[in-house]
């Protein structure tokens, strides 16, 4: 009996390491007992993530396809994975003290985050529709659980349940789409799909329907309109560190996957799928700008904000070329730090031992906690896309790509909606700096060294990105080049 040769596992080393480490930490937690283990496992998980970052970073940008063509690493996957890992690590750091205070500190939480992150890395490296689905499900199943992690809270359970039901629906649609594609194109591998579609003049109707369903599944994950409905409820209901996690790592992973699928196997159908992306992007930007205005809860506001931001990132995808993908990646990198920083502030909104989430609670923050107000001000201006904050450059690169590809209408809509959205971002700054301090006085001090550190790193990066943008821009450029060989 011939023995199948062992596939090249080195390319998948970070994923394997993460999966194994998650198991090990799970065992460690079980043996140590709940109360003591949570903190230890959390910090160890952070260490594991950092090690994974170095593992990913150690990979060279050369294209490797392994595991029977299911798995790919290239410059693109390295860039996206590092972003995801940073996002997960930051979210975990932010969660530790919060979970302790809210009495939901359990060692399963970091383990679930690790497993979810493993799924995300697999998504990014997927080179086959089935690998894609596996990664996506691994990620999602862990996310469903962490969303309802605060078991005693009705809101948290509701959030988890809603996410699960709708996620299942989206997964179903996606699977349906994958089966359609397989039926009409005869393959699930990206490389064979690309080769097959490259030779065709017009795609068959079944294939088109399949692609639309696939797009829907991924649009659900990045919470693009009209598949965004879960986002505000889940953001509001889930524990805040979970919301912070939701708003960065899965978004980045799903977006990276989205880009790889669309410009990879289906690149030749650019002019067909661009219509859908265009519509989703416009709808997301408009809804993100409008619906956020009316929100009183800052987590809900951030939900709509992230819907809008995914719309902007989709502009780069709609461009469908190397410049556009570069724009998406730069956008995701900057978005990561803006959001992590903002959530670090939201996590510190604690008054008299209880969390507060109202926007009005931020009133007069500049007088009670000037440093935090300054940091949040920087993030808000950046989210609004006001120069010289990094958020401006993020938008600049995607708009530039859109103009370059002749998508002028899309760029104009983007600019208009970002003006509208500036209203609610700047309103927070106004509340902090010009209004009387809110009733109840200052927030509780002692937000934690690690939260302060995250806040500081994020605000420095956002504030001074414009001085030295080269690493991010060059990295994104190299990564996008990997998707467009030749």
């Amino acid at each position: 009996m011939p023995i199948a040769p062992l596939p090249n596992l080195l390319a998948a080393l970070p994923e394997i390491f993460l999966a194994v480490a998650a198991m090990a930490l799970l065992i460690l937690g079980v043996f140590q007992g709940e109360a003591r283990a949570a903190k230890e496992v959390s910090w160890l998980s952070v260490v594991v993530l950092v090690v994974a970052i170095f593992m990913v970073g150690a990979q060279n940008g050369v294209r490797h396809v392994t595991l029977a063509g299911m798995f790919i690493t290239d410059g693109y996957s390295i860039f996206a994975k590092i972003l995801v890992l940073i996002g997960s690590a930051f979210s975990l750091i932010l969660s530790i003290r919060y979970n302790e205070r809210e009495n939901i500190s359990r060692f399963e939480f970091p383990v679930l985050v690790l497993l979810s992150t493993t799924g995300m890395l697999m998504m990014i490296s997927a080179n086959d529709l089935l690998a894609l689905y596996l990664g996506l499900e691994l990620q999602s199943l862990a996310l469903y659980i962490v969303a309802s992690f605060d078991r005693d809270s009705a809101r948290s359970s509701e959030a988890g349940l809603k996410y699960f039901v709708l996620g299942a629906l989206a997964s179903g649609m996606m699977l349906f789409g994958i089966s359609m594609i397989y039926g009409f194109a005869g393959s699930t591998g990206f490389d064979t799909l690309a080769a097959h579609l490259g030779g065709q003049a017009t795609p068959s109707a079944g294939l088109v329907v399949g692609i639309v369903f696939l797009i829907v599944g991924m649009a659900f994950k990045i919470s693009a309109v009209p598949f965004h409905m879960w986002t505000p409820d889940v953001y509001e209901g889930a524990p805040t560190p979970v919301t912070a996690f939701f708003s960065v790592a899965p978004k980045i992973a799903a977006m990276a996957l989205f880009v790889r699928v669309m410009v990879g196997p289906f690149h030749t159908l650019l002019f067909e799928w661009r219509q859908v992306i265009w519509a989703i992007a416009v709808a997301s930007m408009i809804l993100g700008a409008l619906a956020a205005i009316n929100q009183r809860n800052i987590k809900r506001l951030m939900a709509y904000s992230s819907i809008g931001h995914m719309g902007y990132a989709l502009i780069g995808l709609a461009a469908g070329n190397a410049i556009g993908v570069r724009g998406v990646l730069i956008y995701l990198a900057i978005y990561l730090f803006m959001n992590v920083g903002t959530f670090a502030v939201i996590l510190s909104m604690r008054r008299g031992g209880k969390m507060v989430e109202g926007i009005e609670d931020l009133a007069g923050l500049s007088r009670t906690q000037p440093a935090m107000a300054l940091a949040l001000g920087i993030f808000m201006f950046s989210l609004a896309g006001i120069p010289p904050m990094a958020g401006f450059f993020a938008k600049l690169y995607v708009f530039m790509a859109a103009i370059d590809s002749g998508l002028n209408v899309l760029a104009v809509i983007g600019v208009v909606t970002s003006v509208v959205s500036a209203y609610y971002y700047v309103r927070i700054v106004k509340l902090m700096y010009f209004d009387e301090p809110a009733a109840g006085g200052a927030f509780d001090r002692h937000i934690g060294v690690e939260v302060n550190a995250v806040l500081m790193v994020a605000s420095i990066i956002i504030m001074f990105f414009f001085l030295y943008p080269a690493p991010v821009v060059a990295g994104a450029e190299a990564a996008s080049a990997a998707l467009f060989p030749g």
Binding site: K162, V216, P226, M229, I293
Partner: protein
């Protein structure tokens, strides 16, 4: 060296401006004055370097704009022209800085004042050393900005504010022409660097371009547009209205504006661009006519003014006219020569006037002075020196330069040259008349001030007098000293390539060959002017009143400055206010706010409420939305594909 000379004033301005509170009044004065002092020494050294050794150079500072076709670098162009200006501006400005210490004593915001003065000087230096049009424009606008700040320095006085705004707005009109001119240069030459533009000017002569729908001579239009900018900055007739009002600023500011900086920018620009103007004869003729007209016009107004500073202000206007028509007849060297001598004696006149005002506790009306000669003898003497220089009496500085200009105008042989010559000679007579009217009214006769003021009359402190001595020395010897180099036998060697004069234009060379009566006429006119003034204000003091009554319309016409302000007010200012009000109330308030910000924000708010209502909280509705979304996309996709 040149970099030091240019940027030290900026350093002084920054230190005094931003750290004024830290270093205090005295500190600000010391910092700005020492910066300017060192700058002046550097300026003189640079001048020496260029005048004696001819080390012309372009000193690069750094690249400024590098966008596609357009490359602009900060660079200091050092040649004879900029060296003369550099030395003159730094020296005169330094003297004025020192004077300000005494004059502004007791003012609450001395650091701000010193900072503005230094900044003003910096922009002027930037302007004169510019090596391209953009840098020139930068200095140009900076000077305009500083004049606004300084004229309105006493911002709690409504008249000062109005004057500052007027100066700014009138300058803007000129600057508009200037900037359009720069666009035209870029359009024609494809570059804004002086070197290539000057090199290509000869080839551009006679070419046409489309301007406002007409085919016109390209260089002529460009030069005239640029000259409009010069008219604004140098207060030529039509755009002169800001200059007399600028007297609302503190006197050192007036001296700085009128002598070393700002108003000379226009003259300098025409001289700097001589390689272009030389190929645009119509533009040159325009310059000559405007200059000649201004020289006479301002002089006529000068004899009817009663404010001591306004008389001198109109005198500046008139002298600038001389400089322009000198440039217009291709005697750029004479123009710059006069600019230089004028800088000294006009600064002297202003600062002595400041000394008079200082002595009179702020009184500026000459009708309330008189008999001050005995009380403030030093000021009296230096004022005489200044006036003698202004009137062109040998051996004072003005004699050499003014004579040169008038001779060159006569020698040019063209009609416009003769026009300028005749007007210039008549203006020389008027210049002497109003200068001695000022002297006699202020220093001679019986005191007309009230007892209280007279009691306080005192000579100014040393810190104000020493600058006057320095400037007096300049007014005495500058003409004789500079004659050889700037317009005499050594001129050709001195100027080198800095100024271009075509062989067919006589320029200063023609001034050597004029008849004797031409070179003596201005002097005679000046002497007659002095004599008339003596007769009217010393011998028979009733004459002026009788004359004014006999020719009342003319007197009123002159007193009201040819009604320029009133006409402008009627034609431009009031309709502008009216249109602005209409646009504000109707246009902005109703239309733009209604459909714009207010309307949009209302609609946005409304949409926002609707958008958040979509979020019902029911999972089945969410799922429904997703399914609908899929259905729409699939249908759209299929439909779009089939069409």
């Amino acid at each position: 060296m040149a970099i030091l000379a240019v940027f030290l004033p900026l350093l002084g301005a920054v230190v005094a401006g931003f750290f004024g509170r830290v270093i205090g009044d005295r500190g600000a004065q010391v910092v700005t004055c020492s910066c300017l002092g060192v700058a002046a020494i550097c300026g003189l050294l640079v001048f020496n370097d260029i005048a004696v050794w001819h080390h012309t150079a372009i000193v690069p500072v750094f690249t400024w704009i590098d966008a596609g076709q357009l490359k602009i670098a900060w660079a200091l162009k050092l040649d004879a022209l900029s060296a003369v200006m550099l030395a003159m501006v730094t020296v005169v400005s330094f003297v004025i800085h020192v004077y300000s210490i005494g004059y502004m004593a007791g003012d609450p915001s001395i650091p701000r004042f010193m900072s503005y003065l230094s900044l003003f000087t910096f922009f002027m230096l930037m302007l004169v050393t510019s090596s391209n049009f953009v840098q020139l424009f930068f200095g140009w606008e900076g000077v305009g900005l500083c004049s606004y700040l300084l004229v309105g320095f006493w911002y709690d006085r409504p008249r000062a504010n109005a004057a500052a705004i007027k100066a700014f707005v009138v300058n803007r009109i000129g600057d508009f022409g200037f900037s359009v001119g720069i666009f035209a240069v870029y359009y024609l030459f494809g570059t804004l660097d002086f070197g290539p533009v000057f090199g290509g000017a000869a080839g551009m002569a006679g070419k046409t371009m489309v301007f406002l729908g007409m085919h016109v001579d390209a260089l002529t239009v460009t030069c005239i547009l640029l000259f409009i900018g010069a008219m604004g900055k140098s207060a030529q007739i039509g755009l002169h209205v800001w200059l007399p009002d600028a007297m609302e600023g503190p006197t050192p500011v007036s001296a700085l504006i009128h002598a070393a900086t700002m108003v000379t920018a226009g003259v300098f620009m025409v001289a700097r661009l001589s390689p272009m103007f030389e190929y645009a004869p119509i533009a040159l003729n325009t310059v000559t006519v405007v200059g000649g007209t201004t020289a006479l016009f301002a002089a006529t107004v000068g004899i009817a003014q009663n404010d001591i500073k306004r008389v001198i202000a109109y005198s500046t206007c008139s002298q600038l006219g001389y400089m322009f028509f000198a440039a217009g007849v291709s005697a750029y060297q004479a123009s710059i020569f006069h600019l230089m001598t004028h800088a000294f004696f006009k600064a002297l006149l202003f600062l002595s006037a400041g000394s008079v005002i200082h002595a009179m506790s702020g009184e500026q009306d000459m009708r309330k002075m008189g008999g001050l000669g005995r009380l403030i003898p030093i000021t009296y003497v230096v004022m005489w020196i200044g006036s003698l220089a202004l009137a062109g009496i040998p051996p004072f500085a003005g004699y050499f330069s003014k004579d040169m200009i008038l001779e060159a105008a006569y020698a040019s042989g063209s009609e416009v040259g003769e026009y300028a010559f005749v007007l210039g000679c008549f203006a020389a007579f008027l210049t002497a008349l109003y200068s001695w009217r000022l002297l006699f009214l202020t220093f001679h006769g019986e005191p007309r001030a009230d007892h209280e003021t007279l009691h306080h009359v005192h000579e100014s402190p040393k810190v104000m007098l020493i600058p006057l001595y320095v400037l007096s020395a300049g007014a005495l010897v500058m003409g004789a000293l500079g004659y050889h180099w700037l317009v005499g036998a050594g001129a050709k060697e001195f100027w080198g390539n800095a100024i271009v004069v075509l062989p067919q234009h006589a320029g200063i060379a023609g001034a050597e060959r004029v008849p004797v009566w031409v070179s003596t006429l201005p002097l005679v006119a000046g002497l007659i002017g002095i004599a008339v003034a003596w007769y009217a204000y010393i011998r028979r003091p009733s004459v002026p009143g009788e004359t004014a009554r006999a020719f009342e319309p003319i007197y009123l016409f002159l007193l009201n400055k040819w009604y320029f302000d009133e006409i402008y007010n009627f034609i431009f200012v009031r309709p502008a206010f009216w249109v602005a009000r209409l646009l504000w109330r109707r246009g902005d308030g109703t239309v733009i706010d209604g459909f714009g910000p207010d309307g949009v924000s209302e609609v946005t708010g409304d949409l926002s409420v609707r958008a958040s209502r979509l979020q019902s909280g029911y999972v089945f509705q969410y799922a429904f939305a997703m399914v609908i979304g899929v259905a729409i996309f699939v249908s759209w996709f299929l439909f779009w594909r089939s069409t």
